[in-house]
């Protein structure tokens, strides 16, 4: 293939600018049987981009567990669906909007939230909760404050206007995100199981309809941008960022749900990344049909738009639908009522080709399967991440004053209160928020019932960096644990896989390691992955982010009267730690924040233990035998108890071993929970735990207005709260 044909003014440089390699161009020519024109090249470039084709990741994604009796729809649709019983189901997905949010934080984050909500209501579900997982650079980095404030305002600006509560999430700060922040947004929706809509454009001769906002030139090549590394000129990429219009999306939501209550729709798909191109190609591919578009009918916001621009525009708040023939007028009336554009722009055909007609001429004609199945899949070379040594406890000096150390930890950037953030999100709209932000998992009531959906997002990137395999297991296990801690039965998860450049074997090794760990954990915990998104090339000037496979988990509470929270309630109760405490300090928050040490293997996760301990804790909650539960995570036991104390406004005295006390109190051993129980209840719980093979140890007693260790090192709950609440508002108020 030495002499490749070119047409329409395309040169090898044009091909490179479209993010395609010479080999990929050769494959396009082979599949087309001729040289593509510019419009066709543009369409190939987005369909074959990492973002749409998963060309680097697909091979490894195939190993993830995606099935289970509760799974109604797994990966491949707009979002995943799990059964909630009683004819209802939860529709959910998490998606990244990292690159746009770095370039323009408000609009990047806002359109990320808008996009993920569309993915959910496209399937017929009303969104009932939003979550987000955010990573920013070091607080001292000069862009961090600006990015955080813009991202939070953008998430709030969009979600608040939509009237969907943003009920929780997580935030980390680390210098490895200085040049690439992560904005991962998750939406959970509620659908009747007999009213689920899919994207397969089945049937020939059916009208293809465009609804929503008009098309402009915004975001052209956003999908290819999301698949390329940053350099110092990234600020110049601003024009490809889309602007969100939450008002239009609110109208689109209501109009779509109104039309969905009739039987007019055969298939529906959100126009997300790569807009009209990816939505039409995916619908045609799934339905086994072709689509013939008349682009003169596309509602345009700007003058003289070309087919290339219409097909690649990422203008927001648009949907593509295939209607049953004859339903056009009924559908049109609904969209007219909501003041939205509605245009029949094409028809399904039996050609299996995507054909574009513009001003009476055919401007593109491409086999659908060339765009999808023929997309290259890479088995990228990878090398496993070298294992680190486990650091012994005596690597780290014991603190002189545990109270002072605890106060410092609860006020450090990664553990400080996120109140400054979540007070900017409307978290009580819709009148069903049962557990507001700050708990282990958020809980929203299923409207009109006494059932609830629990939601949590988790990953510990420093573990994933230290040991991708254990880190991947831990991300899934911690999500499962957080759902368990509020009394929910975990049903399924979504993932947002944020990594660096997959063309580097060490980065690809992180990816492969994390996915294997996630898969093992999903299998062992019966916690399938039903939807997800991959974001690669999160690198700036050759330095990658920490591997960050963010997990969003969903669980079910069949009876909200049997939900649990972390607040200590009754003086005199006993604290019991469920799970084994060995004192693992490597890669811990204590090691990093107090000793500036980020070395050592992360704590391993034994998945059998995880399951046994979690099932035991859930049974205690269901039996109403505990008054507070909190999982043990960043910062270890002492931070866990402090968080329970701050939530309840009561202190506790902790009985700790006299030697390697710091490892006991700050070690981050996995699969643990702290529970609060009455003195009478404690005895039987410990006996039951023993019978179940679950370690259960008395940790201390609830009471007083302070935390103390063996009666010493006292620090008041009030001063802990002061430290916990102070950091973020002070950081955000400081002059840059």
């Amino acid at each position: 293939m030495s002499e490749l044909p070119y047409s329409d003014g395309i040169t090898p440089e044009t091909v490179t600018e479209h993010g395609l390699t010479p080999d990929e161009y050769a494959l396009i020519v082979e599949k087309m049987g001729r040289a593509p024109n510019t419009t066709e090249l543009g369409i190939f470039s987005v369909m074959w981009s990492e973002h749409c084709s998963y060309k680097s990741s697909r091979k490894h994604l195939a190993g993830l567990p995606t099935t289970g009796p509760q799974v109604i729809c797994g990966p491949g649709e707009n979002a995943g669906i799990v059964d909630l019983g009683d004819g209802q189901a939860a529709v959910f997905k998490m998606e990244s909007h990292n690159h746009p949010s770095y370039i323009e934080p408000y609009q990047g984050a806002a359109t990320g939230v808008g996009g993920i909500m569309r993915d959910v209501f496209t399937m017929g579900a009303r969104p009932i909760a939003n979550m987000n997982a955010l990573r920013f650079g070091d607080p001292s980095h000069d862009k961090t404050r600006h990015l955080l404030s813009g991202v939070v305002a953008g998430i709030g600006g969009y979600g608040n206007c939509m009237g969907v509560p943003t009920v929780g999430g997580e935030v980390n700060f680390h210098k490895r995100y200085n040049g690439n922040i992560l904005v991962n947004a998750m939406t959970v929706g509620l659908v009747e199981t007999d009213k689920i809509f899919y994207s397969a454009a089945k049937g020939v001769g059916n009208p293809v309809v465009y609804v929503g906002s008009k098309t402009g030139r915004d975001g052209i090549h956003g999908a290819t941008m999301a698949s390329a590394e940053f350099d110092d000129d990234s600020d110049e990429k601003r024009p490809t960022v889309q602007v969100g219009d939450p008002f239009a999306e609110k109208l689109l939501l209501e109009a779509c749900l109104e039309l969905m209550s009739s039987d007019a729709i055969i298939a529906i798909q959100d126009m997300g990344a790569a807009g009209l191109t990816s939505s039409s190609v995916e619908m045609a591919d799934k339905g086994g049909v072709g689509i013939h578009f008349n682009l003169d009918k596309v509602p345009c916001r700007e003058e003289a738009m070309l087919p290339y621009e219409m097909m690649l525009s990422e203008s927001q708040e648009r949907m593509l639908m295939v209607l049953k023939p004859g339903k056009e007028d009924d559908a049109h009336k609904v969209f007219q009522k909501w003041g939205l554009d509605f245009a029949v722009i094409g028809i399904t055909t039996d050609t299996h080709h995507l054909v574009l007609e513009f001003k009476g001429e055919i401007v593109a004609d491409m086999p659908v399967d060339a765009l999808t199945d023929a997309a290259p899949i890479y088995d990228r070379p990878w090398e496993p991440t070298p294992k680190r040594d486990t650091l012994p406890a005596d690597t780290f000096a014991e603190p002189a004053d545990y109270g002072a150390t605890l106060k410092q930890l609860v006020g450090c950037p990664d553990l400080a209160s996120r109140r400054w953030i979540w007070q900017q999100y409307d978290h009580t709209v819709m009148g069903d928020t049962v557990q507001t932000p700050g708990g282990d998992a958020a809980i929203v009531r299923i409207h009109g019932t006494n059932k609830g959906v629990a939601i949590s997002t988790d990953v510990t990137p420093r573990y994933c960096f230290a040991d991708p395999h254990e880190g991947g297991k831990q991300a899934v296990a911690e999500t499962w644990r957080n759902l368990t801690a509020v009394g929910a039965t975990p049903l399924g998860m979504t993932d947002c896989l944020n990594f660096g450049n997959p063309e580097k074997p060490d980065i690809m090794g992180q990816f492969v390691g994390c996915l294997r760990g996630m898969g093992e954990a999903g299998d062992a915990l019966d916690f399938p992955i039903v939807s997800g998104n991959v974001s690669l090339y999160n690198e700036t000037n050759g330095e990658a982010i920490y591997p960050t496979p963010a997990i969003g988990g969903v669980g079910l509470l069949k009876d909200l009267d049997k939900r649990m929270d972390m607040a200590l309630k009754d003086s005199g109760e006993l604290l019991i730690v469920i799970g084994d405490t060995k004192g693992h300090l490597g890669s811990s928050i204590f090691a990093r924040e107090i000793h500036g040490n980020e070395d050592g293997a992360p704590p391993p996760v034994d998945l059998g233990t995880e399951r046994r301990n979690g099932d035991f804790v859930r049974s205690l909650i269901e039996g109403k035998r505990v008054s507070a539960v909190h999982d043990v995570a960043d910062g270890g036991l002492l931070v866990t108890v402090a968080e329970m104390a701050m939530a309840g406004g009561i202190g506790a005295n902790i009985d700790a071993p006299r030697d390697t006390t710091h490892a006991y109190l700050f070690g981050e051993d996995q699969s643990r929970y702290v529970i609060s129980v009455t003195a009478q209840g404690a005895e039987t719980i410990i006996r039951d735990a023993e019978n179940a093979g679950v370690p259960a140890t008395i940790l201390g007693q609830v009471g007083s207005d302070a935390i103390s260790i063996n009666g010493q090192h006292t620090v008041t709950v009030n001063s802990l709260r002061g430290s916990h609440e102070r950091w973020m508002p002070a950081f955000m108020a400081a002059a840059s």
Binding site: N160, C161, G163, Q424, T428, V429
Partner: protein
């Protein structure tokens, strides 16, 4: 009680308001679309929270000029009780049914949290189930809740006992800590906090229920 909830294109607390009204009165309200030109015969009208027209231009500005608002204004002038919550309060000031204006919060950010309100006037059809001086816990969720009026208007509001609720700890910079005000006739109340979000213990409180019970009793 026959009631109506006005639904603007991007209202988003309309369902919450309807749930609260039905829970307290036992009757579902009429949901009236903003484009309508007729109001059904009702005893009470509620303008819900949300972003009406995206809150572009100014919060509540375009909603205040929508067709149904002509009927709401007429009904208010004829004495029908009208309650505007959050965006509904903004619509009431923009439509001239209540004086003043709700500006961007002093802190500039959207603020969602539970605040404490002091009941300043319990001799109204909206507040008779509270005691004067009661402190009630009710959430706020807004970007533009910073109440502003000129000195004469403020003096009138104070002198005529038309401040229904004041913030105990002002979240948005409102003048005189104003959280809710009445019109001169006492049949129109606008307030930024959301009483409809605190009508059940599972949602974190019940301090909003007394308002709907007051209205129910007043119009019965």
């Amino acid at each position: 009680m026959k009631s109506a909830v006005i639904v603007f294109p991007a209202s988003n607390c309309d369902r919450d308001a309807a749930v609260a009204l039905e829970a307290v009165s036992g009757a579902a309200p009429h949901m009236v679309w903003h484009g309508e030109t007729d109001l059904p015969p009702v005893d009470f009208i509620l303008l819900p929270g949300g972003f009406s027209y995206g809150d572009y231009l100014r919060s509540g500005a375009m909603a205040a000029r929508s067709p149904i608002m002509r009927e709401v204004i007429k009904a208010a002038h004829n004495g029908t009780p009208v309650l505007g919550i959050c965006n509904g309060f903004q619509v009431l000031t923009e439509s001239g049914l209540l004086p003043g204006v709700l500006m961007r919060n002093a802190g500039l950010t959207f603020v969602c949290k539970t605040v404490h309100l002091r009941v300043e006037n319990n001799e109204t059809l909206f507040t008779r189930h509270y005691n004067k001086g009661d402190q009630i816990a009710v959430p706020v969720a807004h970007h533009d809740g910073n109440y502003f009026a000129d000195a004469d208007t403020l003096k009138d509001l104070e002198d005529q006992n038309r401040i229904a609720f004041r913030y105990v700890d002002n979240p948005n910079g409102s003048q005189n800590d104003i959280a809710g005000i009445l019109n001169a006739n006492g049949n129109v109340l606008g307030m930024m906090p959301h009483p409809e979000r605190v009508i059940a213990p599972i949602l974190g409180g019940t301090d909003g229920a007394a308002m709907f019970e007051s209205i129910l009793e007043a119009v019965a």
